[in-house]
Amino acid sequence: MFVDAKPFMPTANLQVSHSGRTQAQPKRKRISGERILPPLILVPSMAAIITFVYVFILITVWVSLSRWGTLRIDWRLRDPLFQAYVQMFAMPRWHADLRNVLVFTVLFLSVSIGFGLLLALLLDRRLLGYTLFRNIFLFPYALSFIVTGIAWRWIFNPETGINLLFDGLGINRWLVSIGSAPFRPGWTTDPGVLFSINDSLGHIFPAVRNLSVHLGIPIALIPVVVAASWQLTGFAMSMYIAGLATVPNELREAARIDGATEFQVYTKVVLPLLRPVTVSTAIILGHVSLKIFDLIFAMTGVGPGFATDVPGIFVFDMTFKATRYNLGAAASIVMLLLVAIVIVPYLWRNLRRN
């Protein structure tokens, strides 16, 4: 389930909650061996997690505050201390990155969860070819983001990709014949931004007017959303299929007996029961989306005018290309906070429930 999610944090958390449970149980047992054994077994993995996750997070925080801005490792703290963060939040590229990752997350989650639910509901009717289609929809999930990125880069190349299809189908000939321009979008090469809200937001926050970045939906990001959704809609679908299987048939029948239409059975009974599935899917896809790197690196890179740049690529460029380790570390801490905003409330809820 976490194959593509690169489970840095999640494994850690699974282990932690597991240990919480085992500590609570042995209190009643009197045999000392059984009391000591579980913690003893857990100590190595706990130690590894503390070192390789939490200590390293602290080291990264330290690096982000340090003077390590070349290949010479320099642990001395900077004065002023938060200069790397100040510099980063002054960079137009970083503004574009934050805009992109938020826009991408919203679009990607809506598309893949929306279509995932739709496909699951269609398959729920057990029509002909149920197994075949379920597998077909799930297949893209088996690919790596790099493969997806390269394939979709070719598809959205404005000279050789999908635009040739519009020509071939005669759509463009028809458009020209009725006197309008042919449909040849630049896709990933288009630096434009749709629905820019700088002006309207400028009435409320005058500082927005000074931004060199347009707040809106970068056009070049749309093909990336298509590619990412293509890959992960199947995953959302399988989550919903699993969720639908847990909805007891008795409930549906009861609703029907009470005179509900088939549409009402879904909107009033099934969908409300699927809410936990939606939350889990959104969390899993959300943290994939906030940390995304490989798909965009393979498909568009930073894009025209940073239209598809994301914090993950920023960290890579600043750390290894510019050798500004402190800046790269600062950006990764901000990424960690973004992911934490999504995941921590979810974990908190789960912990309280347990």
């Binding site: 404005p158 000279e159 890179g301 025209p304 005018g305 940073f306 290309k321």
Partner: protein
């Protein structure tokens, strides 16, 4: 694995961990005859050129086993993280590929990752064979830290000769900006994008700007600019930015979806007429069986005649190299006439030595060698030689933004700011 790392500190700690594990192994290995060469030369011509260096080395110093530690990825994007990790973790390869100038001296020598090889320049007579401007790019406080295998020329303007002839354009021995834009207008009127760029990795556009900048400020201006005597918001720099903005009107519309070699491919097919690119482009023409001065031609980028932007490849000696003797032999071999003559025709560069047999090279490279011997030699910024990596990245970022917003003041201010920041990071 390294691409997926979200935090840089784990990388360093992992490296130190592996360094600890490997330390006893490498000290055992010191007795054996081995040599680890780290590079990112994996594509066709590059790999063949590296292999030629190995062949010469094996002939000159038989009995040494070469560990070819290449990491694939254009321009070393994947290799550099690996190299940086190994250096920081105290587990260096014996020798690695580096550009001269800032990349060598600022990045590797300053933190103490390299050992000087000054004595080789006397013992092997290199001080007479290599141009002084080139050796200076590898020298700090009187000590020299590397040897160059070959030199590329960065400021070339390539063109599809037949396409130009068809449109009534002739190119002389030099070209001015006026001539260039006149030709572009003619081509635009004929519906042809004049200038081919493939900047999916933004550096190709940064290089077009670099060449244009040199065309305006000239050789002395270049030295003043990177020496801090001229500011990045100087009127001359802004003039270059305006030229660069004007060039955007003549670009192939899909430039941000192409890589540099695909842009040269478009030139070969006659989809675009010009392309400003270093002479590694020459290999693409040869691969496509195109004849020089018949199918394609070249001239110095507008305004840059008399200057030679160096994009050179050299090798280092690691401090604490596990196989020091074999590495010194490797560097001696690279500096030898035999190796330079074997390596460069395959790599598409010219020898860093000026005393080699010119007859082994094609027409373009003989032209380049002549230019190398007579022109002002200048370090490239886009290829990490003229300025720190932080500035190089900032230039790439500023170019990315400028291509879209074409705001000269923002561009200049971003570079002024970057120069200040990279100064404080030194």
């Amino acid at each position: 694995m390294h691409l997926k790392m979200r935090f840089c500190s784990p990388v360093v700690a992992f490296a130190s961990f592996f360094a600890l594990v490997q330390a006893p192994l490498s000290s055992q290995a010191a007795g054996e005859k081995k040599l680890e060469v780290f590079s990112w030369w994996t594509s066709g011509g590059e790999a063949a050129a590296l292999d030629a260096l190995f062949t010469v080395y094996k002939k000159q110093y038989p009995g040494v086993e070469i560990i070819n530690a290449t990491v694939a990825g254009g321009g070393g994007s994947a290799a550099r993280p690996v190299l940086q990790t190994r250096l920081a973790g105290g587990n260096p390869p014996d020798t690695w590929q580096s550009h001269p100038g800032w990349e060598l001296l600022g990045q590797y020598v300053e933190p103490g990752y390299c050992e000087a090889i000054t004595e080789l320049y006397q013992s092997d007579g290199w001080d007479k064979a290599f141009p002084k401007a080139l050796v200076d790019l590898m020298t700090k406080d009187g000590k020299t830290y590397g040897v160059l295998a070959g030199v590329h020329r960065g400021n070339d303007l390539w063109f599809n000769k037949q396409l130009l002839e068809k449109n009534g354009i002739t190119v002389g021995d030099t070209m001015s900006f006026d001539q260039f834009f006149a030709a572009c207008d003619k081509l635009k009127a004929a519906g042809i994008p004049a200038l081919g760029v493939g900047d999916s990795g933004i550096w190709a556009s940064a290089q077009l700007f670099e060449n244009t900048l040199l065309g305006v400020v000239g050789g002395q201006g270049w030295i003043d600019l990177f020496g801090g005597k001229m500011k990045w918001d100087d009127p001359k720099v802004k003039e270059a930015m305006k030229y660069f903005a004007k060039m955007q009107d003549y670009l192939n519309p899909d430039h941000s979806a192409l890589s540099w070699d695909q842009a040269i491919g478009a030139l070969i097919e006659g989809k675009v007429a010009f392309s400003s690119m270093g002479d590694w482009a020459d290999g693409e023409f040869i691969k496509a069986n195109k004849k020089e001065n018949v199918d394609f031609g070249w001239v110095s980028h507008p305004g840059t005649d008399g200057s030679f932007i160096i994009v050179a490849d050299g090798f280092t000696l690691a401090k604490g190299a596990p196989h020091k003797d074999a590495t010194i032999a490797w560097l001696k071999s690279i500096g030898s006439k035999e190796a330079q003559e074997a390596f460069n025709p395959l790599k598409g560069s010219i020898p860093a030595r000026t005393d080699v047999d010119k007859s082994k090279f094609d027409g373009y490279h003989q032209w380049s060698m002549k230019s190398f011997a007579t022109n002002t030699l200048l370090p490239s910024c886009v290829h990490g030689e003229a300025a720190p990596a932080a500035f190089q990245q900032a230039l790439n970022d500023a170019v990315t933004a400028f291509i879209v917003d074409k705001n000269v003041d923002n561009f200049a201010n971003a570079l002024v700011q970057a120069a200040k920041e990279s100064e404080s990071n030194k």
